[in-house]
């Protein structure tokens, strides 16, 4: 399936928007996490955790799912394919991994936010700041971003077979036209 130029540009615009938005939302989440981990004020820590829960469920998870789906559409609807080029395959694998970890991790953020609603300062400080998951996630998303921008060379065996069979078809068709 190959998309028309107009549809491809629209899909690309949506994919870029949600992908970069996902990175921005994770950076904002990290800022709240640092605040929760370092503040001595109970209301500030409580507010940070409540904001982290809302941001996670209502911004980061939807952006992640949208980036995954639009990435799949972009790969399957263009000449790049999903499994023809290593950079596309790795990029999709990392995006899928980050999305799965995010969705599995968010319930524990909800539990921490529920605790934060009623905990005293000692309890709030015991929650920490949830820095590891978003920190590692941000690194993964930046790797995906670099792969998508630089598109390093290298075709999979499947991609090489498809390329050869496509070239053979063009060659045979050319011979028939010339005959």
């Amino acid at each position: 399936v190959t998309m028309s130029a107009g549809v491809r540009k629209l899909a690309l615009a949506i994919h870029l928007t949600v992908s970069v938005g996902w990175i921005g939302a994770v950076v904002a989440y990290l800022a709240l996490g640092v605040t929760a981990a370092t503040s001595d004020d109970a209301d500030t820590i409580r507010g940070a955790w409540l904001a982290m829960e809302a941001m996670g469920w209502f911004a980061i998870v939807p952006l992640a799912l949208a980036a995954l789906v639009t990435g799949l559409v972009m790969s399957l609807g263009t000449r790049w394919g999903l499994v023809r080029h290593y950079w596309v395959l790795i990029s999709f694998g990392l995006t899928l991994f980050a999305t799965v970890v995010l969705v599995l991790h968010m319930p524990s953020v909800t539990v921490a936010a529920d605790i934060a609603r009623t905990a005293d300062l000692a309890g709030l400080q015991a929650l920490g700041g949830d820095l590891a998951h978003p920190g590692i996630g941000l690194v993964v998303l930046l790797v995906v971003q670099v792969l998508n921008v630089y598109k390093p060379r290298g075709m999979t065996r499947y991609g090489q077979r498809r390329q050869r069979s496509g070239a053979s078809r063009v060659e045979v068709a050319g011979e028939r036209v010339g005959a």
Partner: protein
């Protein structure tokens, strides 16, 4: 049935073997394996992870009930 458009003459040389993965893919794979091993070691040594790991009872995410309700320390009694 073979695709007639890809049929080759008997005298034609065989298709070249597909090229292996480029160097950046191999380096990337090694880095990923190293990071995964490091994470596994950390998880085994640290005894769990997540924002609730400092709470009584360990990882809140792993031990929380399905409805997300966490009883206060010492129970409701």
């Amino acid at each position: 049935m073979a695709d007639p458009t890809t049929r080759r003459d008997p005298g034609q040389p065989a298709e070249p073997a597909p090229a292996g993965a480029p160097r950046w893919v191999k380096v990337f794979g090694i880095v990923v394996i190293a990071v995964v091993l490091f994470a596994v070691v950390l998880a085994l040594a640290g005894g769990g992870h997540g924002p609730g790991r400092h709470l009584p009872g360990g990882d809140a995410g792993a031990e929380a009930p399905a409805d997300g309700h966490v009883p206060p320390e010492g129970g409701h009694g």
